[in-house]
């Protein structure tokens, strides 16, 4: 019986044959990442650090897109998991002196635990949509409050500095990611791996199941899918990825502050995903890049101007391309590359 169960589980990740649009996706993504790989050749130190931050934040964006785009559950406080990952990583490497790999795993486990605990009570109770969003917002607020309260441990308002860089031992030799080049490739490879993994997972039948639950949960239940379990798993995986992003961020930046767990970052990540195109995976990464770059340019002129510009920009996107920029691109290039094939008349 377990052999059968295992076979069915593996079948979830069985891949459909590659279609034209999949090949295009891979080509475009491949080209983009290749370009980014050679970016250090002309980018200066500052630009490289910005690109690195964007790449790591894009992992955070992917984590939310996986949840929101595929299952429809909107986590309004997703920065809670990012911040947990960041702080656990920081504390374990700085104060407890743990090795990078161990600390990384613990950081992700910490995010996962919080997600499992809160998710279980919410999801199995049938909480969805707006109500789910509001409760998860509370997570970010509570998280921030806890950090500020235990200031002697967490550094309170100011946060912590001198967080050690990532250090991995490989074949006896130890490698520290502490210079621009290695950090750049660390961020690039991490983002690429997360993107490809999510893409593969969602291409398989598992993606169909999540989409079905999003579409018509009652029907999915009536066909035998344990929808609550699927949603909880998705929520937890999303939290793990957010925690990973947080941990990477703090070990590359060297500092950690309560902003990383607070509601402002939680809102920003939603904007990245919405602007880029919910459910498209690549869209949120692009959205992340655009909005972060915009913030830097605007903030260098005036810090108070940024929230206004962000608001206006968001409203514009809602009117011009409510599905996000990715869908705008889709409609501009025509349905040739992005639809499933030539549409026939609906009658037999």
């Amino acid at each position: 019986m377990t052999g059968n169960k295992l076979r069915n589980l593996l079948a979830l990740f069985r891949q459909r044959p590659l279609q034209a649009r999949d090949k295009l996706f891979l080509v475009v993504i491949g080209g983009l990442f290749l370009l980014l790989a050679v970016y250090p050749l002309w980018g200066d130190s500052y630009s490289l650090s910005v690109m690195r931050d964007v790449l790591i934040m894009s992992i955070f964006a992917l984590s939310l897109d996986f949840l929101w785009g595929q299952t429809g559950l909107l986590s309004f406080g997703h920065s809670a998991f990012f911040g947990i990952g960041a702080y656990v990583m920081a504390l374990l490497t700085l104060k407890a002196g743990l090795g990078s790999l161990t600390a990384l795993v613990c950081a992700m486990a910490a995010s996962a635990s919080v997600a499992l605990l809160t998710g279980y009570f919410l999801i199995y109770a049938g909480v969805r949509r707006e109500y789910f969003a509001i409760v998860t917002l509370a997570l970010a607020l509570v998280g921030q409050q806890i950090l500020l309260s235990f200031a002697n441990v967490t550094g309170g308002d100011a946060g912590l500095i001198d967080i050690p860089f990532l250090k991995f031992g490989l074949f006896g030799a130890e490698y520290t990611f502490d210079d621009n080049l290695s950090l750049h490739f660390l961020a690039l490879v991490s983002a690429a791996v997360v993107l490809l993994t999510l893409w593969l997972v969602l291409r398989g039948y598992y993606g169909s199941i999540l989409k079905a639950i999003l579409n018509n949960e009652q029907r999915a239940l009536a066909l035998g899918h344990n929808t609550s379990a699927h949603l909880l798993i998705a929520f937890t995986v999303s939290a793990i990825l957010a925690g990973l992003a947080g941990a990477l961020f703090t070990s590359t930046q060297g500092i950690v502050t309560p902003e990383l767990i607070g509601p402002i970052l939680a809102t920003e990540v939603i904007v990245w995903v919405a602007v880029g195109g919910r459910g498209t995976l690549v869209g949120p990464m692009v959205g992340c890049f655009l909005v972060i770059r915009m913030r830097q340019e605007i903030s260098s002129i005036s810090t108070t101007l940024w929230p206004l510009v962000l608001g206006v920009f968001f409203v514009l996107v809602v009117f011009v391309a409510p599905g996000g920029l990715a869908t705008l691109v889709r409609s501009l290039t025509g349905s040739r590359f992005f639809s499933a094939g030539k549409k026939e008349r609906p009658w037999t």
Partner: protein, 237 residues
Amino acid sequence: MSQVLLSAKGLKMSFGGVKAVNHVDLDLAGDELLCIIGPNGAGKTTLLNLFTGILRPQAGAISFAGRAMVGRPLYEYARRGIIRKFQVPSVFSEMSIKQNLEVALLGVGAGGAEAGAVDEILELIGLRSQADQTMADELAHGQKQWLEIGMALICRPKVLLLDEPASGMTKEETRKLAEMLLDLDHLSTIVIEHDMAFVRTLNSRTVVMHNGEIIRDDQFSVIEQDPLVGDIYLGRQ
């Protein structure tokens, strides 16, 4: 006569003072085809909701293959072989026809084995030519019915519960559906229907519900002649 597969005893369900199901006893054997007819509001769909776990009876018990079913999680009903078609076609609107069927297969844990089953069902429900391109939402009402029936059949149910499967179907499609149901082996079927031509073709054991109770349980040919049934439901023929 095969063994009793699905058994309901003393089922009671009220909504705010209205007795939707009022002490219903029903036994269904394996391999049996049963029709439930009755006026709108008689409690037929409510009964089906009780059989599939969507509603929890306020009194009474339901057992399937000897197991008590009341209180079990919804998805377990399908996994044990109780599959349902809803009164208003309920499919995955933003997924293609083929994907709809695949999700149905995956629900009962058959995703690993049955790749050919999808093609077979597509052929049966007559939607093969548009399977990949057409979103379920774009289908006409009757085609959605067929899709949902296909999704139910692909799960290889032990008990198939169809709530008004013929609504929105042409006369020919209705005939095809009746033939298909009569051909099905190794499963029990409960059909709720208002299309008397369809029910007449099935000519099976028929149960008449009225005000939440079962008032008649007999072959359709007998029920059809019953004056009470004519009064409350069939009208003048």
